[in-house]
Amino acid sequence: MAAHAHKVKRYRGLMDWLTTVDHKKIGILYLMAGGLFFLVGGLEAVMIRIQLIKPMNDFVGADTFNELITMHGTTMIFLAAMPLLFALMNAVIPLQIGARDVAFPFLNSLGFWTFFFGGVLLNISWFAGNVPDAGWTSYVPLAGPTYNSGHGVDYYVLGLQIAGIGTLLGGINFMATIINMRAPGMSFMRMPMFTWTIFITSALIVFAFPVLTVGLVALMFDRLFQANFFETANGGSSVLWEHVFWVFGHPEVYILILPAFGIISEVVSTFARKRLFGYSSMVFATVLIAFLGFMVWAHHMFTTGLGPVANGLFSIATMLIAVPTGVKIFNWLFTLWGGSICFTAASLFAIGFIPTFVMGGVTGVMLAVAPADYQYHDSYFVVAHFHYVIVGGLVFGIFSGLHYWWPKMFGRMLNEGLGKLTFWTFFIGFHLTFFVQHFLGLLGMPRRVWTYLPNQDFDTMNLVSTIGAFLMGVGTICFLINVVVTSAKARNAKADAWEDGRSLEWTIPSPPPEYNFKQLPLVRGYDAWWKEKMEGKSAMTPAEPPGPIHMPSPSILPFIMSVGLFIAGFGFMYDKLYLAIGGIAVTLICMFFRSVFDDHGFHIEEDEQEKGVHA
């Protein structure tokens, strides 16, 4: 066929990574970049804890401390947790639904590079000497032009704005992928739980991130163009920022935690060799949590003074989220019940997740009780609560997912011994760090404090907390060592690496070939691969005859577009109009090229398909 004759330049080495539109490679890019930012954020956390190791410590100054907490929060949420989730999404979702790629490979690459340059922009603030210091929530007026006249918060605004574009593109992409690209026979109610949670998370991203975009635009206009959105002296409203931030910010919490729920569901059912208990109620609970997630933002503002009616309504709405979350917890427990539980590093993290997350969840309900929250709010109790759900929930989930899907991503099994060591140090360190913080809050220690006076009964618990933080650091280092050690080993992971795989990703080689599935599989039920195995089959039934496979071409444009936005960010910040216009122009010209020159892609012919594929 003449149409197959397109010649496409294939790159190698660094250029291959800069131009790739392959979701598996983009997943690895997200993993590396997210991992790097995770280490940066972790280092900031350790410095915070060193400062708080004893009363009236002066390890860092008050200004630096506020910069550290701001950057720690912002980095961990936007530049570490979300990208690491995107890493797993990219690595796994197309495989789980039996697709050859995502719906928009080009946008996928663009999403990564905008996130990456947004993150780099934010962190350049450390070198520019103007670091955001108004907290990750950037409450005005502290973050406004009057009380924050340096460029610190500008880095926050523009960095997040650029990174946010990437996240939004990712959300749209994965929604479209999951709706349109499922393999024949894979109905919605046959999708693996992880796919379901990513689907819902993507929907949350699509509907929550634009709110942040507008908030950041308004703050940027206030700071750069003397607008008055939040300037109370000129009629603006500082409470408006709180509303806008949390209308985005609360769904964001579920954007983070739902994928962890998905990972835990997969891992628990694989290592218990049992079907996920109550699959349909799990799906329903996920949807319900997401829906309620949009109704509860004002519980972050109980002490703002919204009045008893608002506080009462948001209290009850928040408590209701406990019900679908409880359904999930019990479903996991009863998936384990009657199973045959194998303790690997992946399953330890998943099992450790359950009680830990329950503890974070119950303190969530406690915080929902508005009058009691007047005492908890902005105290260390809140710090303990959200670290229980974000670290004890999300980070445990990510570690579990990484250990579980590592062989699928890289073709090598992580070392189990080191993996278990990672788990135990991280798990114990985590509880040491954060359990005592509940009590610090109850004893009257506000959060975001640079230091504290002696004789307030805070000293011992802060010391314990710092020791725990070091232990978590040790756990993270164990994981890094594991990665290095593993990368030196042979690439010998089997297709069904854990032998108990249930979903489609375990039917193709580890790591999968560029095109994932030589023939798209026919899905005959939930747990598609397990079903075939139980019927004695060794492979999926193909849904199409073998043939040439169409692939999208690699492109450097996403990289250049992101560089353009990155440059424009500096232009806006430092009032260099030519840089701002120039940067945006670079991006628009790239969009022009993308629109005018069609991407015909290329085909991998049948005889080429076996090349380099590890059996």
Binding site: V206, A208, P210, V217, Q226, N228, F229, V244
Partner: protein, 205 residues
């Protein structure tokens, strides 16, 4: 199914949905518009929260001139109608009429934009600038965001006209025409809300 199977001139009835790429593009674009809806919804909320806080600056009653805004509204509504005709022509595979309708669409869009720029310049003369008050900031941000969307739409559809002239109507260009038309309708709907919420309610008080 690849994009090339229909390259020989036999366009299917709905060429925008003939390929998986096309279907993805249409679905993805609808999702994008979902996000845009939230974006404008937030801008509207901010505007509604701040619209009475005019400080020392002019109020909406003093500022707005409904006849001109009404004219702009009509122009944009007609423009949207023209893009409907363009898509109908596309479905009948009539390329030249389609291009004609698209051209009218963006010309009307340009007319709208011209009126808006004229309106803004007038306001600035009357001392209604971005830093004047919370009302002015939220007004310019909301209406300005819409205006920027119109401007982008004009550039985009203009570019598509050139592409179709060069490449013809194919399963690759058809989805682009189709989603640009959806985009144009979306902008129009947003404007109807702006006309109601900003101008009509602003005039009433």
């Amino acid at each position: 199914m690849s994009a090339h199977d229909h390259a020989d001139g036999h366009l299917p009835h709905e060429p925008e949905k003939a390929t998986l790429e096309g279907r993805n593009k249409v679905l993805g674009f609808w999702l994008f518009l979902g996000a845009e809806t939230v974006l404008f919804g937030t801008l509207f909320s901010a505007f509604l929260a701040l619209r009475h806080n005019t400080g020392d600056g002019p109020t909406s009653q003093e500022l707005f001139e409904l006849p001109m805004v009404f004219a702009a509204t009509m122009i944009l509504l007609f423009s949207s109608l023209m893009s409907v005709f363009a898509v109908q022509a596309m479905h009948k595979n009539k390329v030249k009429p389609m291009l004609g309708w698209l051209l009218v669409t963006i010309l009307l869009g340009l007319g709208f934009l011209g009126l808006e720029v004229y309106e803004f310049l007038n306001y600035i003369d009357e001392g209604h600038k971005m830093p004047t008050s919370a009302f002015s900031s939220s007004f310019y941000t909301l209406v300005g965001f819409h205006g920027a969307h119109v401007a982008f739409g004009i550039l985009w559809i203009g570019l598509l006209i050139l592409q179709v002239l060069k490449k013809g109507l194919t399963v690759v260009t058809a989805p682009k025409i189709y989603v640009s038309a959806i985009y144009w309708h979306f902008i129009d709907v947003v404007w109807v809300f702006i006309f109601t919420v900003v101008y009509l309610m602003g005039k009433v008080g």
